[in-house]
Amino acid sequence: MPLLSIKDLAKTYPLPGGGAHRVVEVVEFSLEAAEQLALRGESGSGKTTFLHLIAGILAPDSGRIALAGRDVAALGEAARDRLRAETIGYIFQTFNLLQGHTVLENVEFGMAFGRGVDRAYAESLLRRVGLSDKLGHFPRQLSTGQQQRVAVARALANHPKLVLADEPTGNLDRRHAREALALIREVCRECGAALLLVSHDEQVLAGFGDVRDFAALNRALTAEAAP
């Protein structure tokens, strides 16, 4: 049984002038436990919405999202929050670190709403990503690459079964992007977490073994492109 299984998923946004715009329409998608998969897609193709639907940040209009044996789409918001806190790690393109909190606290927030804070584990994760000497620093005191590593540590802080990475190297230069991607894959592997990464950067995706085209997956794009 796959870790993540999606069937007939659809999400539509209302348009300001009336009507609606379908952003995501995925008939079938699955991801095995500990699997690492990249989705290639242009900006504005609905990749982020797709990840938000899987994470339970957004509720779908229809369809089924089975994650770790639970149907995310059928859960209420509070239950989706809990499932996200316990099961999912999220890496954002802009890192989304809490600027008023230290590096260590940022990682602790990654576990705070799930199993609870385990400072020793948070420290070990930061050690693993090479930031053991930056625990008390604030994000603004770090380089972009270092901030990305904090985001990686935070995403793994709650022992997630699935890590969602949304353009995780979009703010990094080539060399740091390659290093960051390697780190994400390596740490996910070590923690036994599956990785679903979305990106539009061909050079990043080139280093990724299993890459699928999001345009082929998302029927909403196909329908839009049709005459």
Partner: protein, 405 residues
């Protein structure tokens, strides 16, 4: 734990607005506590202050003025009574039998604003100014002797005047700060009273005939007295004497019971504490509003942090609770600082009351307002925090976390 961390960090991040808001709450809380404590304690203490007497007999006029003058040594005397009138009253079997002790006093002089009062040595030798408490003269001193130019000085007055045993002074005519002129008589301090926390502490006591026969006083009034402080054999005797004397239409007023008459004073000035209390609540309302505004104004800047927390799994009620908790924390800080404001204000007010009346308040003694006052202020702050908390509750996560790909 992380919730506290969130609250703490947010308070630190917005340290200036936190301090300003907590400061305004501290002022409001301090003002409310002071008004409340001074009001309740002064009412209780003043009503209980009778210097050991049940009633005051004096010239025809206001009972309150008579009590304020004879017991609290405030206000002007309503006038003198002839000693013969009092003696005649005493010979009345219905009234004379009800009186256990009668201490005459004569007023009208002062020294540098401190009132000089004539009385009999019996006051310090026999009277209990409170149950089980008699006047005591500090070591080395003694009671004055009738006929001598000697004085026994209240503890507070002696301290303020810097007087020791053997100090001398010329009484001054009148009771205002700017006395009309010095009398010729030179008095010597022979005793200083131990503190009693009553108006007696701020009076310079001399023998009764000293006032009556002081140079410059009306020689035809040399047997007059200003009032008689009376201890009764039974409370029912007081009611009877009050009816007989006050309704006779004569030259005398019998003020009884003293506590009830003092309570009238507080009824008359109750508008002052009502205004001050209203003012304190208005300041509290403004402080609560400032909590609302200061947190609400920062919500736009915090929306991203809230969205991040929500993306990490924080529930809506968690971020709601964090904002309400922050408002409550500001309230707790303000209320705690309010106690410091209260301690300062109340100490000032208590010292003014002691200087003006001799009555000692103890504002730090437990008062129920110490419990409910801060609780109400924290509650008001929580109320003020509800609006921004609701805004935090409604932060749209996906939109706020843009950009999207």
């Amino acid at each position: 734990m992380m919730l506290w961390n969130l609250i703490y960090r947010s308070l630190r991040q917005h340290a200036l607005s936190t301090l300003v808001t907590a400061g305004s709450i501290a002022l409001a809380a301090g003002l409310l506590l002071t008004v409340w404590v001074v009001k309740t304690q002064s009412q209780a203490v003043f009503a209980a202050t009778n210097s050991g007497f049940d009633a005051v007999l004096g010239a025809r006029g206001s009972k309150l003025q008579l009590v304020l003058n004879a017991i609290f040594h405030l206000e002007a005397s309503p006038g003198n009574i002839a000693a013969a009138d009092f003696e005649a009253l005493r010979r009345n079997p219905m009234i004379g039998g009800a009186i256990r002790t009668a201490i005459p006093i004569a007023v009208g002089d002062s020294f540098q604003g401190w009132r000089v009062v004539g009385t009999v040595e019996q006051l310090f030798a026999e009277i209990e100014y409170a149950p089980g408490k008699r006047y005591a003269i500090a070591r080395g001193g003694r009671n004055f002797q009738l006929g001598a130019h000697e004085a026994v000085v209240g503890n507070f007055a002696a301290k303020r005047l810097g007087w020791k045993l053997g100090a001398t002074f010329h009484p001054q005519h009148g009771v205002s700060e700017k006395a009309e002129r010095d009398h010729d008589e030179l008095y010597t301090v022979v005793g200083i009273l131990e503190p009693t926390s009553t108006p007696v502490d701020r009076v310079i006591w001399i023998p009764l005939e000293g006032i009556q026969t002081m140079s410059g006083h009306n020689p035809f009034a040399k047997t007059d007295i200003s009032a008689v402080l009376i201890q009764l054999r039974a409370p029912t005797a007081g009611l009877m004497a009050s009816n007989l004397i006050n309704q006779s239409g004569g030259k005398l007023t019998f003020a009884y019971p003293i506590g009830t008459i003092v309570a009238e004073l507080f009824n008359k000035i109750s508008w002052i504490d009502k205004v001050l209390t209203l003012l304190a609540w208005l300041v509290a309302a403004v402080a609560s509003g400032s909590v609302l505004v200061s947190i609400y104004n920062s919500m736009s800047a915090r929306a991203r942090d809230i969205a991040i927390l929500r993306a990490l799994g924080a529930r809506r009620r968690t971020v709601f609770g964090a904002v309400v908790g922050e408002a409550a924390a500001i309230g707790v800080l303000g209320a705690a600082a309010g106690f410091a404001v209260f301690a300062g204000l109340a100490a000032g007010v208590a010292s003014i009351i002691q200087a003006q009346t001799g009555v000692v308040l103890e504002p730090l003694q437990w008062n129920p307002v110490f419990g409910w006052g801060p609780a109400v202020f924290v509650g008001l702050c929580v109320l003020g925090g509800l609006v921004p908390a609701f805004k935090a509750y409604r932060v749209p996560v996906a939109e706020t976390l843009a950009p999207v790909s």
